[in-house]
């Protein structure tokens, strides 16, 4: 084996020189709109294939959906009321199984594995996916117990592990500073925005891979909404996030990819900036410009 001498590092030196003499060097290389996503991440982390969904066995609400949701990015589902975006979202962690008489055709795969595999225990699927609901639903327990609920039902008891999880999750949800002195007070003593952030902390406590958010800010004031959008922006470094929203500006602000649904069909699914700057489909154009829905 030929040993090569270690490469000198002229580029580093040049950069240093540049940085000293030219403060604007590298400005064009860096970009806020394209923070260089890791090419090793799967673009089809969640894959929806030929997915049809029925209520009461016959009433079809989702028609032949095909989409690939990439890993560690924020994907937004937008569309008018009743277009099926929430239905699809709730299928990803099989929450729709709780409704009687539902039926599906097609498949949804996460990281290559079908979620409808008969050998897959639904509970273990839901442990890997965190969900935040439109109306925040903290449990009638203390803040501490709320956050570690998923750990408790998984049987983990070690106090040090639980304490660490509480701190990590609350920090992750940008709530730690506000509640660290009252962890054992009831969760209902928090404000609306704080409760929703508590629900987010609870959703990420078990380190899920995917975070599903169903209109998480629709019941919150602009400041709380802003905090949560900030949070989503930070969380996407570690979690794959799918967010349903009927607030177009919110979709435009937080998401990397946007899917527009109408009457149960996927009308357009593309990078967010394409959807909002120059959508291919005139229906999408009409919807994002606020001309219907």
């Amino acid at each position: 084996m030929i040993m090569t001498a270690p490469m000198p590092e002229p580029t580093a030196k040049a950069e240093t020189r540049d940085r000293v003499t030219n403060p604007l060097s590298g400005v064009l290389e860096r970009s806020a709109t394209n923070p260089n996503p890791d090419p090793s991440l799967r673009m089809d982390y969640i894959r929806v294939s030929n997915f049809n969904f029925f209520y009461n066995q016959t009433a079809q609400v989702l028609f032949d959906l095909n989409m690939d949701i990439p890993e560690r990015q924020v994907t937004a589902f937008i569309g008018p009321s009743g277009c099926g975006k929430s239905t699809l979202l709730r299928n990803i962690n099989r929450m729709n199984d709780l409704i009687d008489g539902v039926r599906h055709e097609g498949d949804i795969q996460i990281n290559g594995h079908s979620i409808y595999d008969p050998y897959l225990e639904v509970i273990s699927l839901r442990k890997r996916i965190g969900m935040v609901f439109q109306k925040s639903n903290p449990f009638p327990k203390s803040i501490y117990e709320n956050v570690i609920y998923s750990l408790r039902v998984a049987g983990r008891k070690k106090k040090s592990e639980l304490d660490d999880t509480v701190e990590r999750s609350l920090r992750g949800a940008a709530l730690w500073g506000e509640v660290k002195d009252r962890l054992h007070e009831s969760a209902f003593s928090l404000s609306g925005g704080q409760m929703q952030r508590l629900c987010i902390a609870r959703a990420i406590a078990n380190r899920p891979e995917i975070l599903l958010m169903d209109e998480p800010c629709s019941a919150l004031d602009p400041i709380a909404t802003g905090k949560i959008e900030e949070l989503i922006h930070e969380l996407k470094a570690s979690y794959t996030i799918v967010i349903v929203t009927h607030n177009m500006q919110q979709a435009a602000r937080v998401s990397d990819r946007t899917a527009f649904f109408y009457l149960g069909r996927l009308v357009e699914y593309d990078e967010t900036q394409k959807v909002f700057m120059n959508p291919s489909n005139p229906q999408t154009e009409a919807y994002v410009s606020g001309r219907f829905g």
């Binding site: 442990k127 609901f133 609920y149 629900c199 609870r202």
Partner: protein, 563 residues
Amino acid sequence: MFTSSQKDRPPGETFVWFTAMGLAVGLLMIVGLLGFIVWRGVAVFWPKPVAEIRLKEGAPTFRGSSNVVGVITKQQAIDARNLSPEQLSNPDPTVRMEKQLFVGNRNYFGVSYVYFNAGDIEAVDYPDGILNIERMEWGNALVYPIALEMKDGTRVEASDPAFPGRFRDLLSEVNKRRAAITRIEKGKIGKINHRMRELQLDERYLARQKTLTATQEQDLKRVRERIRELQTAYDPLAAQALALREQQSDHRLLFRLATGEERSQAMGEFVHHFWPNRMSVFKKIGQFLHHVKEFLIAYPREANTEGGIFPSIFGTVVMTLLMSLAVTPFGVLAAIYLREYAKQGPFVRAVRIAVNNLAGVPSIVFGIFGLGFFVYFMGGNIDRIFFPRNVELGVPTFGTGGVLWASLTLALMTVPVVIVSTEEALAAVSRGVRQGALACGASKWQTIQTLVLPASAPGILTGLILAMARGAGEVAPLILVGVVALAPSLPVDSIFPFIHLERKFMHLGFHIYDLGFQSPDSEAAMPMVFATTLVLILLVVVLNLGAILIRNHLKRKYMASAF
């Protein structure tokens, strides 16, 4: 511009008045009922003065005497049909009144209460020399003490200033000895008797067999030996008790009745005393509290017309607790299944309707069901399987009424209430909480156990409170499944296994019925009836308060449900 007219009044104001009136009427009825019971019940314990009445010349005498001593209990107008024409035309209204007197001394006079025409009364006096003695038998004695006759022959005259003190000391000595006797007889001898009874049953059973196997022969020999052993243990104890009993008769009290006769009685037959006409208010309060205490913790005497009601209280509490223990898991689990797991269809709806209707079934029907199913069927089978010896001998253990079957019967009666309120409480837990739990990866049971049940606990306790209130008050079914007027022992005592589920027990509700309608002297029993009713109401209130306190504590802890 802002003047109001008739048209501006909010519509429906008059109906607000109606609702307020309805509430007021309800409250008045409750307050009135409770007040009446409290008044009559509490009055029983207040020590009353004893009067000496001198009857007029020519008026009908009482046992040949014109002097009567007693407590004036009632004063009422004579029923018009019993009035003679002279009484009717008499301008003096007192001739149409009569007084009822409690004369006590039932063993001497034969009656406790006597009526006297008010017109026949010459004078009423309250001499302070009268002594009111509570006795083991024959109720109270209202007498003039003459002297104490001690065993060694000395006398303490009633006029002696040391008499009251001496009498009191002797009485407390007698009471202590009586307690010692009870400890020996009920305690030690009771244990021996219990074991003896079992062994005798064994002996009888073995003796009845036509042929005995070798082991049975051995058993019989051993049993007879054990009986002899116990007999030898019994004898000294019995002798001890007998000696104490004899000591009770060491001293006697000589006294005079109002009618003039002189009598005497052994001190050992006395339980309590007070001087009714000599007492200051403090003393009276002391007597009052003493009576209340005795009423609550003493055992009954004289076919339940005297003494205390402790066994009834105990029996009611034990039965109510057992009933609650039975109904809660059964009702709650049934409600959880109905609400959470069962597929909501016509069958589940039918079940729910059936459960609701069960609440309307008359309680006596439950009693008959309890008799047929629990007592005869289940009890009979248990006896057949576990107590064959007793079946052979015709001594039913579980095949007859007992505290277990009574509790189960009442549990069955109150289970609809628990199921309905539990279902309501479960339904009140919001879907959002359940969905959140499932999204966290909890299984359905984990959701129920960790979130839904704790949040429903206040509602479930409400159901339990209602069930307890209903169960504690029912009497009719209990008569069939295990309540008796006088039980030989308590369902819980110090003999292994400490809780005896097959024993019959006493119950406050039944006690009231028994006193009011089955006792030989209903006038004498009336005060006890009111006092017992008061205790029953207070008991139910206390049980409910306990449950309410627990519920409030839980509500504060979980504040999520609508209850």
